[in-house]
Symmetry: D2
Subunit: 314 residues, 4 copies
Amino acid sequence: MTVPTTILGQNQYGKAENRVVKITRDGATHHIKDLNVSVALSGDLDEVHYSGSNANVLPTDTTKNTVFAFAKEQGVESAEEFGIALARHFVDATEPIRTARIRIEEYEWERIDLDGGAAPHSFVRRGQEIRTAQIRYDGTDVQVLSGLKGLTVLNSTDSEFWGYIKDRYTTLKEDYDRILATEVGAVWRHGPAGSPGAESGSGSGSTDTDWNASYGAVKQQMLRTFAETYSLSLQQTLYQMGSQVLGHRPELEEIRFSMPNKHHFKADLAPFGIANEAADGAVYIAADRPYGLIEATVLREGAEALIPPDMTNL
Amino acid sequence: MTVPTTILGQNQYGKAENRVVKITRDGATHHIKDLNVSVALSGDLDEVHYSGSNANVLPTDTTKNTVFAFAKEQGVESAEEFGIALARHFVDATEPIRTARIRIEEYEWERIDLDGGAAPHSFVRRGQEIRTAQIRYDGTDVQVLSGLKGLTVLNSTDSEFWGYIKDRYTTLKEDYDRILATEVGAVWRHGPAGSPGAESGSGSGSTDTDWNASYGAVKQQMLRTFAETYSLSLQQTLYQMGSQVLGHRPELEEIRFSMPNKHHFKADLAPFGIANEAADGAVYIAADRPYGLIEATVLREGAEALIPPDMTNL
Amino acid sequence: MTVPTTILGQNQYGKAENRVVKITRDGATHHIKDLNVSVALSGDLDEVHYSGSNANVLPTDTTKNTVFAFAKEQGVESAEEFGIALARHFVDATEPIRTARIRIEEYEWERIDLDGGAAPHSFVRRGQEIRTAQIRYDGTDVQVLSGLKGLTVLNSTDSEFWGYIKDRYTTLKEDYDRILATEVGAVWRHGPAGSPGAESGSGSGSTDTDWNASYGAVKQQMLRTFAETYSLSLQQTLYQMGSQVLGHRPELEEIRFSMPNKHHFKADLAPFGIANEAADGAVYIAADRPYGLIEATVLREGAEALIPPDMTNL
Amino acid sequence: MTVPTTILGQNQYGKAENRVVKITRDGATHHIKDLNVSVALSGDLDEVHYSGSNANVLPTDTTKNTVFAFAKEQGVESAEEFGIALARHFVDATEPIRTARIRIEEYEWERIDLDGGAAPHSFVRRGQEIRTAQIRYDGTDVQVLSGLKGLTVLNSTDSEFWGYIKDRYTTLKEDYDRILATEVGAVWRHGPAGSPGAESGSGSGSTDTDWNASYGAVKQQMLRTFAETYSLSLQQTLYQMGSQVLGHRPELEEIRFSMPNKHHFKADLAPFGIANEAADGAVYIAADRPYGLIEATVLREGAEALIPPDMTNL
C-alpha cells in the first residue's frame, strides 16, 4: 500500500462498559453500588498506531481487571471518588499514560419494603434517571463532571408558547396552555478545591466534596425549579434550572443541559364533535419524532466554559 | 402468478402503540394517565386477504381515532377498564368484527416533591416497571390479563445453587451464597365475575374489580415474596411468588412468569492476591448474555391454564 | 408464609442468547457462521419449583457449554441442523428432560470486496434481515420452524386503500397512490419427512432438507411477490406473499406473518404553495408510532395450523 | 426564587430527527432518498433564555416544515448538498440566526431483484451501515463532515496481540492468531473549495464535490484496508484505514474513528477434551460488554484538527 503523509491526532483507548456491582455487608444489612465504568487512556501512544508495537500499551483487559480490583480494595463510596482513584492510578502507575478519563453510569436501587420495614438485603432497581460522572486526570489536575440522564418530567399546565418569528414555513399555532415535558440530560462541573464552594482549602481536585449529597441536592433543585417555573419557552425553563442549581450549590461552576421537547399534541377530536380543551383536562398524543432539542450551558459569572458543547450526555 | 391451493388461517389487524396521555383537572390539582394502546381486531376478514376488498375493514386509522376519543369521553380510570370499553365498542359497533384484543402498557408518574408538599401539576416519570393489561372480548366474554415487565430485583444473599445434574459438559461450581437477580415479567389472569374473588355476583367479565388496587397488591406481594424466599433455585423463588400472589388475591386464577437469571459472577481477583468472598462483601461482574431464562405458570388448583406459554410479556 | 393450594403449569428453562461464532478454515479461505442460540428445556421439573431440589436440573450453564462444544464437534451447516442436533441431545441424553426447544438467530456476513476478488478471511456484516429457526423435539418428533425478521421493504407506488367502513370516528381519506412499506417478520413450518416436499421418504423430522437453499428461496419469493403485487390492502399483499411461498416451496406447510404498516404520510406543503403529489414524486414523513399491524397465517389446504397466533417473531 | 449571578453559555436549538423520504419518479422508475434530518440553530438567543421572549425564535416546528418543503423544492441529490442548502437558508433568511448545524443520517435501499432485472419501484432496505453528514454554516464558511456508523467488519485471522505492558493486574495471554472485529464509526472532514482536492477553484465551502461518489470510495477504501492490514493492534489497523483513506481521497483533510473492539473469545472446550485452536477453525464467544474502545484522529500533514475528540458518531 502507498503510505500518504498523514499524522496521528488526538487518540484514546481503554475498556468501556465494565459492569461492576459491589456489595458491602454490615451484618445482615447489605449495601449495593451498581456501576458501568468506562476507561479511556491517552499518552505516548504514537507507535502502536504507526507500527503496531504494543510496548507502551496497557491492555484494555488489564484496565478492566483494575476496575474490579479497585472496587474490592478501595470500595465504592461514590462514582466520583471511585473514578478519581482509578484515574490517578492509571496515570501515576503507568509511565506512558499521561491522561485518564473515567466515565461512570450508576443505577440506583432501593430496598424492598416489608411489613416490618426495609428489607436488609433485597433490592428493587429504581429505574428513574441514570447518574453519571466523568473524571479526567492529567497527572496534575483532576476535573470532575457529574450528571444525570433519562430524568423525564412533565408540567401539565403553566406553559405557553407564542410571540415567535413567523416566516413562509410557519404553520404552528400559538398556545397559551400546553404540556411541557422533557427528558433532562445534564452535566455539571465541580470547581477546584479551594474555590468558594469547596470544603477544603488546598490541593488540586475538588476531592473532598460529599458527592452523593451534592448529587441529590442538584437533582432535587432541578425538579423543584422545573415545577415552579411558569414557562414561556423551554429555553427559559432550562436557564432557570441551571441558574437555580448554581445559585444553591456553590461547589459548582457550570452546568450544561440537553433537553428534548417531548411534544404532547392535543388530539383533534373536533371531527367527532368532542371538545378537547386543556382547561377541561385534555387528551394528548405523546409524539416520538421529530422533537425539539434544546441545549445550553449556564455558567457562574466569571467561570470558564469547559464542558464541550457536543457533550450532551456522559 | 400461479395461485396455489392455500387458505387463510388466524388473522388480526389494528393500530398498535397509540401513545395516549390523559390529563384530568381537579382545580389546580391535575392527574395523569400515560398509556400505550394497541388494538387487534378479528372477524369476517377473509375477503380483504383474498381480493383486497376493504368492505369489512374498519381502518386502523379509525381504531386510533377511537382510542383518543374514548380517552376523552370516558376517561381512563385504569388500563383494564379503558381496554374493556374499547374492546366492547369495536365488537359491538362494527358488524364484521367478532373479536377485539386490546393491549396496554402504562407508564407511571409521581408528583414532584416541593417544600410545601407534592406539586399539583408537575410530575416525574417513575421509570420502574411497566404495567400491562390485555383485554379480549368475543361478543360474549371478557378475558382480562394484567401484568408488568421490567421490574428488576436482587437479593445479595440467601440464594444457593447446588445438587444439580452433572454431565460431560458441566463445569459450573456449586454455590452456597450467591446473588439472585432477575427482571420480572409477569401476566396474571383475572377470574370471571361471580368467581370467589370477584366483587360482584353476576354478568360476564370481571369488570367490577378495583384494578389499580389489585395491581398494587400483586406487585407488592411479588416483591415481598422475592425478598423473603430463601432460594435454592430461581424456579423455587418463581413458584413461591406465584403461589403467594394467588394465595393473597382471590380475584386471580393463574399467573405466568418470565424471569431471566441476571447473572452476577464474582470477579476473579485471586491472580492479584485479593480475596473476594461473598461473606465479606464481594465485587461482581453483572453479565449481559447469555442468561438463564426461567418461565412457568402457577395456577389455582382446578383453574384452567389459559395464558399461552409463549406469552412472556404483554 | 401461608401456602395456598396452587399447582405448577407449563414451565421451561435454559440458557438464552448464547452468541456462537464458528469459523471454518479451508486453507486461506475461511467461512463464518454467527448465531445467537437459546435453549429451553421441559420435563420432570416439578420438584425444583416446589422444593428447590435441583436433582433433575441440568444447569443452564451446562446447556451453554453444550452449545459451544457442539458447534466445534459437529460444525454448523445450518441453524436448523445445529438446532436439531442440540434438541435431540438434551432430550436423549438427560433422563428428566422430555422436550427441548432451540431458538436461533443468525446474522449473515459477506466477504469484503478486493480488487482481485472476494477477500478470503475478511467479512462485513450484511445487516439486512435476521434469519431465525426454532426446533422442538419431544423424544419422538422434530418440528422445525424457520423464519426471518427485520426485512424492510417498500413499494413507492402500486398501492391503494379505499372502500373501507366509515363510522363516526373515521377521518382517513381514501388513497389511490400511496407508499406501501413494512418490516416483514415471518415464521414458516416445514412438513415432516415423507410429505410431498420432503426429499427423503422415511424417518421422523424433515431433517434432509437443504435448509440454506430453502431459506434463500423463501426470502426471494417473498421479495418478488411483494414487488409484483398491485396492492389494495396490506392484508392482500401478505396473503399473496404467503400463498406464493407455499406454492413454490412444497416442503412448507404453513407460514405466519407479522407486518407493521410503516406509514409514509405525504407532507402537507399546501400552506407554502407547494404541490406534493405522488404522481410527480412526493416527499413523505416516515412515521414511527402508531402503526398498523397486520398478522395472519397462510396454510396449505388440508394442513394443520400449528404456529401459535401470538408468535410473531421467533 | 433567588436569582444567582449566572450567565448563558453556548446554546443551540432546533427540530431533531425529521424523517424525510423523497421519491423521485422517472417514468415507471422511481428513486428513493431516506433521511433523518436534525437542525440546530444558534444566534441572538439570550433573551429567550433570560426572559422567555420568543421574539428571536424561529420555532422548531418551522424548521421541521422547512426541511420537508426543501426536500420537495430542491430535491435531495446527497445528504451533504441538502444540508448545505438548509444551513444557508436558516442563517441567510432569519436575522437573529447566526449559525446552523444540520446533521443527517441516511438509510440506503436497494432495488428488489426480479427475474427480468431490478424492480422499478420496489425496494428493500440494505441495513448495513448508516451514512451520516454534518454541515455547519456561520454566514461565511461551510464546514462539511461526512461519516458512517454501524459498519461491522471481522477478520478471522491475520491479527495478533502481544508485547504489551504487564503490571499487577494483567492476566491476558498473548495471542498470535485472533479474530479482529469492530463496528466502524467514522467522521471525515472535507477541505474547503480551492484546496488540492476540491474540484472547483473558488468560493467558500467545498460545495462542488460529488458527495455520493466520495462517500462510496471512502467506505470501500476503509473495507479494503481493514481486510489487507495484517494487524498487531486495533490501533494500527485504525491508523492504516485513516491514512489510506486520506491518501486516496485528496478532498479530505482529517478523519476520526471510533472503533469498539468486538471481542471474540475462543470457547474453552478443554474441560470436555475438545481442542479448539484457531488454526483448525475455532468456536468463539461473541462478547457484549465490556469492550475495548479505540478512538483516534488521522490528519493530512499540515491540516488543522477540527473534529472534536468527543464526536465519535454524528
